[in-house]
Amino acid sequence: MTDETIRDVLTRRGLSRRAFLQVCASVTAALALSPAEAADMTKRLETAERPTVIYLSYQECTGCLESLTRSFSPGIASLIFNDISLAYNDTLQAAAGQAAETAKDTAMKNAWGKYVLVVDGSVPLAQNGAYCAVAGRSAVSDLKRAAGGAAAVVAVGTCAAFGGLPYAAPNPTGAVPVSEIVRDRPVINISGCPPIAEVITGVILYYTTFGVPALDHLHRPMNFYGNTIHDRCYRRPFYDRGMFAKTFDDEGARQGWCLFELGCKGPITHNACPTTKWNGGTSYPIESGHPCLGCSEPGFWDKGGFYKALSTPTGHWSRTGVVSGAVAAGVAAGLSTAAVARARQGRAQKKAASADSEPKNPTS
């Protein structure tokens, strides 16, 4: 962090107090803070020191950064990334090559022990980390070095949080999430493929003012990941009434019925999509007619198919193999059991017949 406060920076950038309060209001609304907490946050944002954010990218598709930079609330996004904090981001900055590396080293040195390290993408470990290297250094060693000087690490996107697409079976690069590399300081997971821009910025601002937010068991901030999509879904009444769209263009789909049968993973997915929404609050996938893919949950690529209902098997083995194998084994076992029983029946019958034909002892 620098000595400059956030308010100083904003004043220097020509942001009026009114605009500042508007930004604070949208951040606190996104975080679903109580009025008292919101007032507290506004006060702290005025006096908080300008944080230093260093943004590193590894095995990722840049979708998370796209989500952020194309956010429809540029007020908050640019507030954080352009105006107050971003010290290094290899994708957004103009510098390249050695100049970029020098910029990163300088940013880290200037705020050693204090900066917020944002990581986007998973970290490959196979082949000594050769699948992803930056300036001749493997991602894993680069991350370890950068995390050494971080006050906290924010893993942005499902790849950084849980491994994401690179982690999907068969995981050829040996990808792991950030939390498997960084174990000695707080890691905040902001999962999603991509995560909602307001969630990323909201969490960074929250961290700046209050510190590490309350996290769930997967280290995701409870403010945004405390509920499932299903808990807040506007199609929930249709689910409860048993009214489901069966295809993407049937009457049910047109009427906005529940998408469970089309594979919706909303019941097991924790995210803020139904409340924060996307594209400036326009809608979210389910509102646009597509089932939730469960992108903010670990292993969402390997859950047996995006369009398979949650209550159906994931299809671990070939169904034909399982059924035909079981029938064949069952019939064989049944025939052998019956053969043994028949032999026993035959013996008993023979014994009974010979007992009948034997001359009876007249004294008995």
Partner: protein, 220 residues
């Protein structure tokens, strides 16, 4: 194991193993029974082959005979509440219909969640009452063995975990849903090997007995 892995485990390998055990067990028992040597009945049939009587007995034994009605009717009603509630919960809930469609290709319209929860709640209550009856009736207690209590437990667990999942009780939804599916898997796997096999054998055993009785001219 966290909730997500329990759910994946239950929907993945455990389900396939349970399905294999279910099919294996049913095939084993049915083939084993049908391939047995039938005793030759040398007596003169009194009323045709007895097939009609067999079919009639499948239905007539579903209700107590007049002589016993006063003593057992109320427990029969409780038992019906359990069975009908169970059937409604299994066959009427859309996520279950999705599973059936996945396995067989068959599907039908589902019922509202509230109706399913009501039916499952009634069924669970009836099942508890039946357990209480089994434990307090001296005759039933003597007739009961491990299979009865184990089968009871396997029938009860999916009901309770299903209701918990529906009402969001028990914390982690994925864990509760995973345990519900796991309980269903275990029920599937155990079905052919214990007394729950009556769901399949009931018609055969009643039919065979009815046919034999009918052939000898006994009233069904």
């Amino acid at each position: 194991m966290n909730g997500a892995s329990v759910l994946d485990f239950a929907r993945g390998p455990v389900f396939e193993i349970a399905l294999a055990m279910l099919i294996f067990g049913i095939a084993w028992r049915l083939v084993g029974i049908f391939a047995l040597r039938r005793p030759v009945d040398y007596s003169e049939p009194r009323a045709g082959t007895g097939w009609g009587s067999g079919l009639r007995m499948i239905v007539s034994r579903s209700w107590p005979r007049r002589e016993f009605r006063e003593r057992v009717l109320h427990w029969d009603i409780v038992s019906y509440i359990f069975h009908v509630g169970y059937a409604v919960a299994i066959l009427g809930y859309v996520p279950h219909i999705m599973l059936i469609r996945n396995l067989t290709g068959l599907q039908w319209p589902g019922l509202p969640g509230g109706v399913i929860a009501f039916a499952a709640g009634l069924s669970a209550g009836a099942l508890l009452a039946l357990l209480g009856h089994r434990l307090t009736s001296p005759v039933l207690r003597r007739l009961s063995n491990f299979d009865d209590y184990f089968s009871w437990l396997l029938a009860f667990t999916p009901l309770v975990t299903g209701l918990m999942a529906y009402y969001g009780i028990g914390g982690n939804y994925q864990m509760v849903l995973g345990l519900h599916i796991l309980a269903g898997d275990i029920l599937f796997a155990w079905l052919p090997f214990g007394k729950i096999m009556h769901v399949i054998l009931l018609a055969f055993s009643r039919g065979t007995t009815g046919a034999a009785y009918g052939r000898r001219g006994a009233p069904i």
